[in-house]
C-alpha cells in the first residue's frame, strides 16, 4: 500500500529518506504491551510511597530509579524518575524511527520544548529555585536535558531568552517583558500547533489525514477544557477567545467564540449539539461542583479515540501517537497517586483524578 502511495508521489514534500514504519510501529506496540495494566493502579493505591518506589523499580523505571537514587529520595525520587523515563522513552522513539516518521515524531515532541521553556519562564517569574524548576523538566524534545538545566540555572528571564536566541520560538519570546507571561504562553502553544500543521502539510495520504485528525481532536478537547474552566468561573469576556486554539475538528472557532459570551447553563445547552456531549453528558450539569470528572472523562475520550485511530491504519504514525499518550497517562497517574499520598488525600479523591 505504502509502495503504491510512494509511486503515486503522494508522500508530501518533507519526506527525508526511507521511513521504517513496520519496524517502529511493531516495536512501539510491544512497548505499549509493557505499560502498567488497569489492575495495577488499585494495587498501587494500597501501597506506601516506599513500596511504590520499589514497585516501579521492578518494572520499566528500574534504570531511572537506580540512576537518581543517589541524588533524591521519596516522592522527589519518583517524580524525577518518571520525568527521566518519559524523556528517555520519547528519545528512544526518535532514535528508532527514520525519515518522514522521525520528522513527524520530532515535530510532535516539540511540545516538550515548549513545555520546558514555559516551565523555566514560570519558574523565573515566581523566583523558583533551579531544583524546583528541574523537577518539572521533561527533556523529551529537541532541547537536551543539559541545555535545559543550563537554562534553568540562569539568573533572570532575560538570560534565558537570550540563550534561546537561535531557537524557532525566539520571535515570540523576545516580546516577553516580565509581565505578559500568559500571553507569551498562549502564543507559544498556538505557534506549536501552527508549525505542526505546516509540518504535516496538505494531507494527501490516509495516514497523514488520520494524523491531522488526531491533532485536531487534541485541539478540540483542549479547547473544551478551557471553555469548561472559563464558564465554570463565570467568565463571559469575548476577549478570552485568545485562549482558544484554532484548527479543531468538530468544534469550530466561530462556534466557540459564540459560546464564550454564554452563561454556564446556556453553554451546557449549546454543548448538547456537539458530538462530545454524548461522552460527558452523565457527569456534567448546571450544579456540578468540580470539573475533575469532566476533565478525566475528556482525557479518557482522548485515549480511546487515539486507540481507535491506531487500529484504522496500523502502519502509520498514529499507533506511535497512541503510545505517547498512553505513556504520558501512565506517568501522570503514577505522579497523581504519589503526590496524592504525600499530601494525604483520601483514596477516593485520588481515584477520581486517575485516568484508567
Amino acid at each position: 500500500m505504502r509502495l503504491l502511495q510512494r509511486l503515486k508521489g503522494g508522500m508530501g514534500s518533507q519526506t527525508q529518506g526511507h521511513s521504517n514504519y513496520a519496524y517502529t510501529t511493531a516495536r512501539v506496540r510491544a512497548m505499549k504491551g509493557k505499560l502498567l495494566s488497569k489492575e495495577t493502579y488499585p494495587r498501587l493505591m494500597n501501597m506506601q510511597i516506599s513500596e511504590i518506589t520499589r514497585f516501579i523499580q521492578e518494572v520499566e523505571y528500574k534504570e531511572d530509579v537506580d540512576q537518581l537514587a543517589r541524588s533524591y529520595e521519596d516522592v522527589d525520587l519518583i517524580e524525577h524518575a518518571l520525568n527521566r523515563n518519559l524523556a528517555v522513552t520519547f528519545n528512544k522513539l526518535l532514535n528508532i524511527s527514520e525519515g518522514e516518521l522521525n520528522f513527524l515524531i520530532s515535530e510532535y515532541l516539540k511540545k516538550y520544548d515548549i513545555w520546558n521553556i514555559k516551565t523555566i519562564l514560570r519558574g523565573k517569574h515566581c523566583d523558583a529555585s533551579t531544583d524546583d524548576i528541574l523537577e518539572s523538566i521533561v527533556a523529551a524534545g529537541r532541547l537536551t536535558y543539559t541545555f535545559t538545566s543550563e537554562l534553568a540555572a540562569k539568573p533572570t528571564y532575560e538570560d534565558v531568552i537570550a540563550a534561546l536566541s537561535a531557537s524557532e520560538c525566539y520571535s515570540i519570546l523576545k516580546d516577553y517583558n516580565g509581565t505578559n507571561l500568559s500571553d507569551i504562553e498562549n502564543r507559544l502553544d498556538k505557534n506549536y500547533y501552527y508549525d505542526l500543521f505546516q509540518a504535516i502539510g496538505d494531507p494527501k495520504t490516509k495516514d497523514r489525514k488520520l494524523f491531522t485528525k488526531f491533532i485536531q481532536t487534541d485541539i478540540d478537547l483542549k479547547n473544551l477544557v478551557t471553555l469548561f474552566r472559563l464558564k465554570r468561573y463565570g467568565i463571559t469576556d469575548p476577549l478570552m477567545a485568545d485562549l482558544l486554539i484554532e484548527g479543531g475538528l468538530k468544534l469550530h472557532f466561530k462556534e466557540m467564540e459564540r459560546m464564550l459570551s454564554l452563561s454556564f447553563e446556556d453553554f451546557l445547552v449549546q454543548l448538547e449539539n456537539t458530538p462530545y456531549w454524548e461522552e460527558i453528558s452523565d457527569c456534567c450539569g448546571p450544579k456540578m461542583e468540580s470539573l475533575i470528572h469532566v476533565e478525566t472523562r475528556l482525557k479518557k475520550l482522548r485515549l480511546k479515540s487515539a486507540e481507535s485511530f491506531s487500529h484504522v491504519y496500523p502502519l502509520s504514525i498514529v499507533p506511535i501517537m497512541d503510545y505517547i499518550l498512553s505513556k504520558e497517562n501512565e506517568v501522570s497517574n503514577l505522579r497523581m497517586i504519589v503526590r496524592g499520598k504525600e499530601v494525604g488525600l483520601s483514596d477516593e479523591e485520588i481515584r477520581d483524578q486517575l485516568v484508567i
Binding site: 513496520a22 519496524y23 510491544a30
Partner: protein
C-alpha cells in the same frame, strides 16, 4: 530470389524462460512481502525476546509465494 526462413524457437527454451520468470518474479514478490514483516518482527523482538518464535513464523509465511513459483517452474520444465 530471397529465401525466407521461418525462425522457430525451440519450445524447451520458452519453457525455460517461463520457469525462470515463475521463480524470479515470485522471489521478488516474497522479498517485498517479507521486508516489512521481517523488520516488524525484529522491532517486536527488540522489546520482547519471547516473540522470536512467532516473529520467525510470520516472517516466512510469504515464502509460500516463491514455493508456488518453484512448483509452477518444476511443472512446466
Amino acid at each position: 530470389m530471397a529465401v525466407e526462413t521461418a525462425a522457430v524457437m525451440d519450445p524447451a527454451g520458452l519453457k525455460a524462460i517461463g520457469a525462470g520468470l515463475a521463480v524470479g518474479l515470485t522471489g521478488i514478490a516474497s522479498g517485498i512481502a517479507e521486508r516489512d514483516i521481517g523488520s516488524a518482527a525484529i522491532g517486536a523482538m527488540a522489546e520482547n525476546e519471547a516473540l522470536f518464535g512467532k516473529g520467525l513464523i510470520l516472517t516466512v509465511i510469504p515464502e509460500t509465494i516463491v514455493i508456488f513459483g518453484l512448483v509452477v517452474a518444476l511443472l512446466i520444465s
